[in-house]
Structure formats: C-alpha cells, structure tokens
Amino acid sequence: MPATYEPIATTTLGSAASSITFSSIASSWTDIKVIIVATAASNANFAFRFNSDSGSNYSRTRLAGDGSSITSSQNTNQTELQLTSSFSIGTTPVMRTLDIFSYAGSTNKTVLFEEINDLNGSGGLNKQVGLWRNTAAITSINFFAQSATNFAAGTTATLYGIKNA
C-alpha cells in the first residue's frame, strides 16, 4: 500500500509575522490538510485565501458554541475565508484545522475547517464549511492578519497531503 498522509511543508515562526504562505503546492495528493497552532500578542483576526484570489468567490456556513449558546450563520460572496469568524486569536495557544478535499480537481473547492478556541472559562469552538468558487487547482494558501496584530513567534502551521492511491 502506498504511503499517504505526508508532511508537505511546515512553518514555525521565529518572530512575529503578518502572514504564513504555503506556495507551489504540487498536485500529487488527493486531499490536503492544514494544522495551525497560533498565538498573537493581543486578540486579533486572521483570514486565508487560495491562489491569492481576492475576488468575491468565497462563502461559508458556521456552527459555533461559546459554552452557553449555539449560533449558525452564513456569509456569501466574501473576499476571503475567516480563521477567526467566531473567536479571535490571542495569547493562549489555539488550534485551527483545514481539510480541503480534491484540491487539485476541476470543480469548486470545499474546505471543512474548525476553530478550537477554549480559553479556560471563555472562548469556544466553531465548525465551518467553506466554498471557494473556482475550478483551478489550489497551488497556494495564504493566511494573513486582518489588522496590525501579527501571528506571534512560535505559531506553527503544517500542510499535509493525503493520497487515495
């Protein structure tokens, strides 16, 4: 059986940075997955785009819980997908995961992503589905700050490839 679930690239920030980019992603896999453990110097919002596309080609539906209430909402025709649509990133390490299916196929691209953001008495979790209405293969993913606050040093992002054969 061929090897699958392979690390493609990883970044651990040695100093604060406004963005993290995985570029030149080969089409060698079937699906790709990103695991991020992030902090920021103060609460801040972050987003991501595929192939540097800033057109209004993104949409998402979310299901979030904050420990007392559940909310679900939808946003259409967005110019990016939010890493922090429900919970900002601050000084406590939090986790983000993206599962992108058939990223090299010729249909629009679906991504399941989650915000794991428990802060011992606050925060919560958010399960989302995103859609990028573009039939191009995904060759780059750019995570970026939406304000002056950057990803803090020590933030780690890893891209994995999963192959079906």
Binding site: A3, T4, P7, T39, S68, T97, E114, G123, K127
Partner: protein, 173 residues
C-alpha cells in the same frame, strides 16, 4: 518525503478495565491522535470518557463543547477541572445502550511537546438506534506547558472487553 501518521501504541481490552494509560510517549512526533472504540458497564446508555495528561490532577483542564442528542443541541463548558471533559457530554455507549454498540471517539492534540499550553480537539459519537444517542464536538485546553508524556483514559465506570484504544503520532517533517 516521509510518510507519517504512525501507530505509537494500542490496547484492545481482553477484560474490563477502569482505565487505559499510554505512557512513555516519545517526543519524536509533532501531533498526537487518539482513536477509541469503547463501551462501558454503566447500566444506563452512556458513560463519560475522561482524560488526564502526565498523571496531573491539578485544576488545569477546560473545555467548550457543542453537543446534540437527536432532539436538542447544547453548548456547555467546564473550567479549571481536574480532568479533561468534566462537563459530562463526552460519552461512549454503555450497557444500557443497544447490545454490541460502541462509542467512537477521536482526539487530536497538536504540538504536544511544545512548551506552551495545549489545545486539543475532540469528537465522540454514541449512536445505538434508540433515543439515547449523542454526538459531541469539543475544544479543550490543558493549561500546562510540559510536554505530554502520558495519557490516561478513564471513565466513571469500567471500559468493557474489546474496547480499543489507539495512539498515533504525526510528524511534520
């Protein structure tokens, strides 16, 4: 490029046990994945699954969850608890559930050796073709900067024979 997602250790119970512990977890991976198929001897349909890291029972575990029972959804949290999943929604099947049904659980722990507090994600499902069912997604946090070297999985009852526990390591390079 190396393949990853490597089995570190497993335990398939040959008799009932109150807990399962993976110890001496090597620091050679980046992330950990724990996959469990379990059923307990509680007389009702469900029993809670709980974790402790490094044998610590200090009040350092917290969680926020989304849970659905088939008729209602809830978000709840637990803070400064002495074990993970103290809120009581992270459950597997028990003896009150349909025979031969087991709960299914996955827990992902990223950056388990990094000297920072440890976030984790979890999901568990207890489905038994009856009214007593539940699915729960969790955001957890262990407020401890030590590398995780052991994981104890326990319940408020005993895990039954054939319950299985698998610990995998994922490496980012």
């Amino acid at each position: 490029m190396p393949s990853t997602y490597t089995l570190i250790s497993s335990n398939v119970l040959s008799s009932s046990a109150a807990s399962v512990t993976f110890s001496s977890i090597p620091a050679t991976f980046t992330d950990l994945v724990l996959r469990i198929s379990s059923r307990s001897d509680n007389t009702i349909a469900a029993s809670t699954i709980r974790l402790r890291f490094n044998g610590s029972s200090s009040a350092s575990y917290s969680e926020t969850l989304l849970s659905g029972s088939g008729s209602a959804a809830v978000s709840a949290r637990s803070s400064s608890a002495t074990y993970m999943f103290n809120a009581g929604y992270f459950v597997d099947d028990a003896n009150g559930a349909t025979a031969n049904t087991f709960g299914t659980t996955e827990i992902y722990i990223p950056s388990y050796t990094v000297a920072q507090n440890k976030p984790l994600s979890g999901i568990t499902a207890q489905e038994d073709n009856a009214t007593a069912a539940r699915i729960t997604a969790e955001a957890g946090l262990w407020s401890n900067t030590a590398a995780i070297t052991s994981i104890e999985i326990f319940s408020n009852y005993n895990f039954l024979s054939t319950s299985s526990f698998y610990l995998y390591g994922i490496k980012n390079s």
